[in-house]
Subunit: 552 residues, 2 copies
Amino acid sequence: MPDFAATHRATLDGAIAAIRARGHWSAYPEIPSGKVYGETAKVEGEAAFQAMLNGHFETGQAAESWVGEETSPFGPALGITYPANTPGTLVARGGAAMPAWAAAPVEDRAGIALEALHRINRASFLMANAVMHTTGQAFAMAFQAGGPHAQDRGLEAVAYAVEEISRIPGAARWSKPAGRETLVMDKTWRAVPRGVAVTIGCATFPTWNGYPGIFASLVTGNPVIVKPHPKAILPLALSVRVLREVLAEAGLPADVVQLAPDTIEAPITARLAKHPDVAIVDFTGGPTFGRWLRENLGPGKALFTEEAGVNPVVLHSTADFAGLCRNLAFSLSLYSGQMCTAPQNIFVPSGGIQTDQGHRSFDEVGAAIAAAVDALLADPARAAGILGAIQNPATVDRVAAARSLGQVVRNSAPVEGAPGRTATPLLLAVNAADRDAWMEERFGPIAFLIRCAEAEEALALAAGSARERGAITALVHSTDEAFLDRATEAFTRVGASLSVNLTGGVYVNQSAAFSDYHVSGANPAGNACLTDAAFVANRFHVAQVRRPAVAA
Amino acid sequence: MPDFAATHRATLDGAIAAIRARGHWSAYPEIPSGKVYGETAKVEGEAAFQAMLNGHFETGQAAESWVGEETSPFGPALGITYPANTPGTLVARGGAAMPAWAAAPVEDRAGIALEALHRINRASFLMANAVMHTTGQAFAMAFQAGGPHAQDRGLEAVAYAVEEISRIPGAARWSKPAGRETLVMDKTWRAVPRGVAVTIGCATFPTWNGYPGIFASLVTGNPVIVKPHPKAILPLALSVRVLREVLAEAGLPADVVQLAPDTIEAPITARLAKHPDVAIVDFTGGPTFGRWLRENLGPGKALFTEEAGVNPVVLHSTADFAGLCRNLAFSLSLYSGQMCTAPQNIFVPSGGIQTDQGHRSFDEVGAAIAAAVDALLADPARAAGILGAIQNPATVDRVAAARSLGQVVRNSAPVEGAPGRTATPLLLAVNAADRDAWMEERFGPIAFLIRCAEAEEALALAAGSARERGAITALVHSTDEAFLDRATEAFTRVGASLSVNLTGGVYVNQSAAFSDYHVSGANPAGNACLTDAAFVANRFHVAQVRRPAVAA
């Protein structure tokens, strides 16, 4: 086979160093530039996407049927159909592919993963179109989050998997003095995959959320069945196709990775996940199905989830009120709040907050944030580039229904002249007591300005909501270091990643591979972190064989 | 506080190197010698044990009641009572102790663990008496397995916990070029404990099986409630008392570790494990309660189990038939088969096997193993020293009932003149089709000689039984390397640790800390390994705080 491991050794070494140091590091350039990706890449990427529309998407899998019902949130139906199989067929094929894959050294598995990531990276413009027209992300974000950033997350999982497995020695001689004799045994160890893995993708970040589980399972030796969301198949189908190509070139079974598309009407996810030969399930999606998985998968299966949360913001005081408002406006607007890291609940003391511009009342804080959103989105073209489109029609309905939950501080509206489903942020003022309104994830461009007795209550409510309903991120603004210490303690305990005093070009929504641990696993927003040691260590077991080295 | 970390740094460094290299290594001398432990240690240990009988055992916990009902399998009731509390009290106290413990640096937590292990080690003769008179282990084994070997297992968990947490940097500066500006963030990370941990002990190896979970939870920052088996409280009570002493000397809350004794009549385990503030459960025991835990603990709790199994032996051929029989006789006899690693099912081709003594028929193989057991146990004093006593009267009943399950090749009997409950191995010949007889764990000195069509069927049945009913160990004898390769593949897949051609002084029952991975987690014999990265990595989460380093 081609020596993919050697080709990409420097990338892997860099990634392994990065997950230790956790400064800024990236393997895949995030700028959609012709200088990086080739001057014709943009045009070719779009052309390749257009050529796929209204056709069969071949992955090389023998199809039992063809399914596909994707529609771009920006308008047209994609008309692409994908090869579909029953859960039984998929699991049987994965199981058949497993022995060869498990027998490949971890270096080779990692090499194949890295070559696939490299090829996926080269096709980032095509991927950007695929992500844009399934998720509704604007082009720039679809390129970055669906392309290089997702690839970095995949590479991060490869690095963790390689490192964890490399810590198990292949062999050792065990030599123990026992009275007059010495007992000598030769021992060998092998990391053995748990079994067929299933990754259940989501409709908003199919690659970014999907790659960590896919690559963690693969590099630890498990075959992977990729079950995309019925509305966002293409990005993962493209990824699966590349992986299958590289596997085949390496002389390994392409069925190590399979695509498992289904439809909203005839879903296969539950049957697939429950199949007795499935050993690992990675899931990104809502808490209802998350709970179903926890209760129904059965013993002996490893389950990694990212579900939902109510990400809080606590406003105590600030030395840069304008920056606070600008920064928060962007976080509320980016991809119309359809990020698992987007803030939903802004806890503000009823007495207002101290700022560099003097005291600001609760109402003034609300008005200033609303004004910052208005300013950010004043230009429709810029607004469309930040907001993207609304992935799911149900989210538009949710925005409409949410208006009655509080006092409208800023109303939501479509973006003028923008194609597809769009909606600017809805900002509602409510009281802390209105828990039915804010204590539940309202996915999409819906945020609450929550009137609290004072900042300590704001902090307590924010941390409590993270503990009870989950939170991936938290944002606190304060000029008081003692308050920040208390906030650090509170969010540390409930497992929400805390950002402090963001007023510039870093946003609470952003989670950078190799530096930010995404999801703590310590509250209902998810049971696993992308990516830490626990995310990979349970995807394999250690097999041992021991044998006398000499006649004892 | 005393710098326990500095005192024991060399021990910790040695342990961390050992879990990587996995050759022979040990921190605590296994020989019950006056030269090592002090010439008066043996006498003093026994005197200290005698002085504890028929008294209150103080741990410093405020008792809501006093319980205790231990009886030595060698005869007398111990008459010791221990401070007992309700689950609510225990969990509340553990929760109150957590913040201080979580805030202690991992080096300090490890130092305290190492100091406690050191003191426990110095009291190994007392521990040997405690283990002997609760588990029924003979003195030599009680000393080794209950003392130094258990301490090594605890230290191994400390090493894994330290290593896993040390891989998370405390802080980093993230600096990312973004057009003309550079985004700079200061980030900090902390390993945060999951919450109150409960270790549910067993009656046969209370320390050896209990320490890994206790020390893994502790060093990752979780307070631990130690729930011993009602019939084997003393060994864990001694351990808890030492830990509480060291904690107090270090100026930390003693309630970081608590004892939770109960009785057979009024068990608290289920309520304790289900308590909403309990986050981690380590369990050693039967599969019935193991399943109850899996189904009832609820989401968000980490569960680590060692349950039951049917450890197989496959006889294909041998170059040392006498050694095979001697070695296997010892494995069947040691502690009367009451080890989770003891073989139960010996699969033999109906046509017999090739040996260095020529061909041996199925019946001849059975007769030779029986004769080897007889020879090993011919001297009653030696027999008592190998067999120990039967921990649970139910095991004696099980042996009696088992006689009807097959043709008796070697009968079980008490050891002549030995005190307490004793029983030599029962060896029964059955057919492969008699699955109701052998396909279930028959805990104690009960083994089956299973007549198989040929060696390939023996291997298939052995591996299948491990997959379906669990197995921690497997033993294969063969002079055919191709057969051994197939056996390696088969047991690797089903997660049973394979020993090959043991004919000398190493036995399939033995699992050496720092070298042997104990339990794979890949079959019903347990879901976790003592100890690997997965055993510790999920006992904490990573908390993150990030903040602009300069105004952006």
